[in-house]
């Protein structure tokens, strides 16, 4: 019966090669048994219509094939998924930082080459490189985790027995990581020192294959420094207070929110103000995106502040 052969073949297509021939032979035999039985019950000879009724009851080929395969097949299973998510985040942060540097270098480099407008080809090329970098790195991370998943599945049988002592500590979002806070304070200081005392170092250009330190800040930028210094000083002080208290409290969370809004105001003034950068339109385009992120972040903080239980 042709329809049965086609059905069995369609199921076989979804099965691994080592199972295929055997399962196909058995299914064909079983389907013919069912067909004969049904024809006997209905007192008519087996025909394609009856065969179709039998295989319809059996189910869609991919569904039937799935039942023959080992259960719980994952590319990356629930056991490894949190680590996979973390690795993806780290990879994205590293790529974003590296590509941010490349992007600025491309913009400033083309500006330092005394062109009237940035070299759009170089900028597009950089964006393409970043996109390919993101794709390849995420593919590599996924591949590594998929291999670990396979290896771990084999080791599961010999894994030590689970015990409550293995449970990870509960994450407390109000308890800051000391190392993280210290690193952030260091970065605030470094940025403040850079903008106040070494503005000529803000920016980096590649001209004729050689790296040049070229500030992309225009003199008008200095007018905004007092506002920024107040922001950095407040942020540094807030970090210091939280570090001394050992945890975020409602008051310090409110101060963090207020500081975020103050930062948004500074960004707004910079974006709407006179030209401040050598490639003003591009830097301001980036700052507009940062402004949107700051507003979203502040909205999220406000929501948490209003809805979180003490």
């Amino acid at each position: 019966m042709e329809v049965i052969d086609r059905y069995v073949h369609a199921i076989g297509e979804h099965l691994p090669w080592n199972l295929r021939a055997d399962v196909e032979a058995e299914l064909r035999s079983l389907l013919l048994d069912s067909l004969e039985e049904r024809a006997r019950a209905e007192q008519r000879p087996p025909d394609p219509l009856l065969a179709e009724a039998v295989i319809r009851e059996f189910g869609a080929p991919e569904e039937v094939a799935k039942r023959y395969l080992p259960q719980d097949q994952y590319l990356i299973g629930p056991r490894l998924f949190p680590a996979y998510q973390l690795a993806v985040k780290i990879a994205l942060i590293v790529i974003a930082a590296a590509s941010g540097g490349l992007f600025i270098a491309a913009i400033v480099g083309s500006a330092a080459g005394h062109r009237e407008a940035p070299d759009l080809f170089a900028v597009a090329h950089t964006i393409w490189n970043v996109a390919t970098g993101v794709f390849i790195n995420l593919a590599l991370v996924t591949l590594v985790f998929a291999i670990i998943e396979r290896v771990q599945a084999r080791r599961m049988a010999t894994a030590p027995a689970w015990s409550p002592a293995m449970l990870p500590p509960v994450k407390d979002p109000d308890r800051p990581s000391q190392a993280g806070m210290v690193l952030e304070m260091y970065l605030i200081l470094a940025v403040a020192v850079l903008f106040n005392f070494y503005p000529e170092w803000v920016g980096m250009g590649v001209v004729n294959g050689r790296v040049h330190l070229t500030s992309f800040l225009l003199p008008a930028f200095a007018a905004y420094l007092p506002l920024m210094n107040a922001f950095w000083a407040s942020d540094f002080a807030l970090h210091l207070i939280v570090l001394r208290q050992g945890r975020w409290r409602r008051e310090t969370r409110a101060a963090e929110l207020a500081l975020g809004l103050y930062g948004a105001v500074i960004l707004y003034l910079v974006i709407t103000g006179p030209p401040l950068f050598r490639v003003d339109f591009l830097v301001k385009a980036i700052l507009k995106a940062v402004f949107a992120l700051v507003l979203i972040g502040s909205g999220t903080r406000l929501y948490r502040l209003l809805t979180r239980r003490p």
Partner: protein, 113 residues
């Protein structure tokens, strides 16, 4: 209308969930003697347990892969057929699961009284 459909779907899923475990015991209990897929399906149906073919046949393969069944091809019938029968491990497992089942059934009986 939507609520009734949701209730039916939930009822079906929950029913399938507790039938799934019972099917293994049912199959092991009927394979003390050799049967092929279709004859086993009929034997179970004759005793009041209807099993969908798309569920039963893959289950036989899985139980065989777990060492609870053994099988052989027979070429003596009208067409080649694969016959299954419980292995020594399958027989021991059937006794253990039957004891578990009876204990559970007694507990459920008390709970639902």
């Amino acid at each position: 209308m939507v609520q009734a459909a949701r209730r039916d779907s939930l009822r079906e899923n929950l029913g399938l969930e507790f039938r799934r475990g019972a099917l293994v015991l049912a199959v092991l209990s009927q394979l003390q003697q050799e049967e092929y897929g279709y004859s086993l399906k009929k034997a179970l149906a004759d005793r009041g347990l209807e099993i969908d073919e798309g569920t039963l046949y893959p289950l036989l393969r899985r139980l065989e892969a777990q060492g609870l069944l053994r099988s052989r091809w027979s070429l003596e019938d009208v067409r080649p057929r694969r016959y299954y029968r419980t292995s020594a491990l399958g027989e021991a497992m059937q006794r253990d699961l039957a004891a578990d089942w009876q204990s559970l059934a007694r507990a459920m009986e008390r709970l639902l009284r």
